[in-house]
Symmetry: C2
Subunit: 317 residues, 2 copies
C-alpha cells in the first residue's frame, strides 16, 4: 500500500511528469477579475462564501464522469489507493447543497460528476475551471472516465481517446455564442493519452486501445439506435453509418468528449478521455449486461486512472 | 382538501378536458414492436422485468423538471394536494436502481427529473414515451416545470411558453439523425397554454405571462453571460443579443424546451412548459437570490400545475 499523502501536500514528486514549471489554469474572460464575487451556482460554491485556495489549491488531478454514484465509488477507490489517513466516512460531497453535480476530494484528486450530454458537462466545466483558477491551482491534469458504445470492438474494451470527433467525424466542436457559431478544435495532448496507454500495459489482461471517440447530442437517433421512441432510418442505414464511423477511426461513441476537449484545451488543462464500451453497436443497441458484468466493466477506467495517478505521484514501484 | 383519488382510478372526471376520446401515446419506430424485450436502460425499467401497464396504465399527467430534489418535492406536494391515502413515506423513487433520473408516481401524476440540457432530457423522453406506450396510457398531458433566466421581466415571474425558439429565435429544433440534420417544429398545443394561463388567474397575486421561451445548448456563452470561464464578447454585444431576443418575443431562456416540444409533438403528447425566472438577464448574469426566495420562486410553477391538475380532475370548486 502507498504511503500517506496529506491533503495539503505541496512537495509532490513530479519527476515522472512530462511538463516542467508551473502551468496555471487560465480563464479567458476579461470580465471575471473585476467581479466582486463569483458564485459558482451549480456547484454551490463561491469566492466570498468559501476559501477556494485553501479548499482546492493542492488539486493536481481532476476526474469527471457522468454518474454521481460511479464518481463517489471512484473517490472512495482513490482514497484507498492513495492510502490517505482520513476516515472513509469523512469523504463528503462538497456540492451537497445542490443536486446538480457531486464533488469529492481525496488528497490531490478532485472527483466530480457531470450528468449526461454536452450542455450539462459544459456548465460544470465553466464552474470547475473558474474554481481551479480562483484556487490558483497549477499543473492540473483532467480526465473524463465514462461508459460508451463501441464499434467493432468487444464489450469491456477501454478506449483511450486520441481525438474527439462530432457526428460528422470532424475533430471539432461547434459552440453557439450569442447567435454565432464558432468552431473549436478538439485536439488534445497526445503525450497524456500515450502515457495512459503505457500505463495500461502494466495492468495484467487490461483490454485497451487508442482510437477516436465520437461525441453526439443524442443517445438514440443521433447514434443510429433502432430502439428509441423515434426511428426514421433502416437497419442498413444504421450499419452503413457506424461502418463509415469505424473507417474514419471512431472506436466508441459517447456524449461529452468534444466540448470537454475544446474547453480544457482553451483553458490550459491537459485532458484525456477514457471510456469503457458496454456493447458492440454493430451487434445491438440495448445495454443488457448482467449487473455484475456492468459493474466490472465500469471499474476498468477507474483502475487505469488510479494506476496513472499513483505513477505520477511516484507511488508505484 | 380534495377527496381521495385511488391510484387505479379509472372513472376520473374529464368534463373539463378540452379533448374527447382516447388519444394514445404513439411511438414512431417500426422496429419497436418486433423487439422481444425493451430495456429502458436509463430508467432501470423494462418490459420483461416490470408490468408497465399495471404500474403506469392510469397515468394522465407527467411533470418533468431538471432537479431531482425539486421533482421529489413536487411529487410530495401533489400527493398532499390530491389527498391521496397512501403514506408520504411510501412515495419511493421508481428509478432508484439508477442515478440518471428519479421518478415518482402519485395517483395519475407521474413526476420525473431530467437533469440539464437537451441531450439529457432527450434520453429521458425517448424512454418515458416508450414507457407510456408500453403501459398503453391514453390522454396524457405532459408539462415541464423549471427555472430560467428572464428578459426584461421581474425575477419570480412565471412564463407560460407559447412557443420554444432556438438561439436564432427560430421555432425549430435541429435533430442530428445519423449524419443528417433534420429540422423539427416546436409548435405546441396553444389551448393547453391558455388553459394554464386561465388557471393562473385563479391564484391570488400570481405573477405570470405568456411568451416565447428560448432554448440554448449552453448556460454561459450561449446565453450571453459575462461570467463564464470563457467570454469573447462585450457587454454591449450581450445586451444587443438579449434585446433582439426580447423583440422577437422571447421572455425567458432555458435549456430543454425545443427538444421537449418537438418530441412530444411527434408522439401525440399535449405539452406545455412553465418556468419561473430567477433573474432579469438585462440586469445581471449571476443567480444570487437568498435561499428562501429561491425556494419560494421555485414553488410558483408547482402551485400552478397542482391547481391545473386538480381542476382537470374536477377537484376544484
Amino acid at each position: 500500500m502507498a504511503s500517506v499523502i496529506p491533503a495539503s501536500n505541496s512537495s509532490m514528486r513530479s519527476d515522472r511528469n512530462t511538463y516542467v514549471g508551473k502551468r496555471f489554469v487560465h480563464v479567458k474572460n476579461p470580465y471575471l477579475d473585476s467581479m466582486d464575487e463569483d458564485i459558482l451556482y451549480h456547484l454551490d460554491l463561491g469566492t466570498k462564501t468559501h476559501n477556494l485556495p485553501a479548499m482546492f489549491g493542492d488539486v493536481k488531478f481532476v476526474c469527471v464522469g457522468g454518474s454521481p454514484n460511479r464518481m463517489k465509488a471512484f473517490a472512495l477507490f482513490m482514497h484507498k489507493e492513495l492510502g490517505l489517513e482520513e476516515a472513509e466516512e469523512d469523504i463528503k460531497d462538497i456540492c451537497a447543497g445542490t443536486d446538480r453535480y457531486c464533488m469529492y476530494k481525496t488528497g490531490p484528486v478532485l472527483t466530480i460528476s457531470h450528468s449526461m450530454g454536452i450542455p450539462s458537462i459544459s456548465i460544470m466545466l465553466h464552474e470547475l475551471i473558474k474554481l481551479l483558477h480562483h484556487a490558483r491551482c497549477c499543473d492540473v491534469t483532467i480526465i473524463r472516465i465514462g461508459t460508451s458504445g463501441g464499434i467493432e470492438i468487444a464489450p469491456g474494451t477501454v478506449v483511450i481517446m486520441d481525438i474527439a470527433v462530432d457526428s460528422f467525424f470532424k475533430p471539432q466542436f461547434e459552440q453557439v455564442i450569442l447567435d454565432n457559431i464558432v468552431t473549436r478544435s478538439t485536439e488534445l495532448d497526445k503525450e497524456l493519452s500515450e502515457e495512459l496507454f503505457n500505463c495500461s500495459k502494466e495492468i495484467p489482461n487490461f483490454p485497451t486501445l487508442i482510437g477516436h471517440t465520437m461525441c453526439t447530442y443524442d443517445f438514440y437517433e443521433g447514434q443510429g439506435r433502432l430502439d428509441g421512441a423515434l426511428c426514421s432510418f433502416s437497419r442498413e442505414k444504421k450499419l452503413d453509418y457506424l461502418k463509415r464511423a469505424y473507417k474514419a477511426g471512431v472506436r466508441n461513441i459517447e456524449m461529452e468528449s468534444t466540448v470537454f476537449t475544446a474547453m480544457c484545451g482553451l483553458c490550459g488543462l491537459k485532458a484525456a478521455v477514457v471510456c469503457v464500451t458496454l456493447l458492440n453497436r454493430l451487434d445491438c443497441d440495448q445495454i443488457n449486461l448482467p449487473h455484475d458484468v456492468l459493474v466490472e466493466y465500469q471499474q476498468w477506467p477507474q483502475l487505469l486512472i488510479s494506476n496513472f495517478i499513483r505513477r505520477r505521484l511516484g507511488l508505484c514501484d
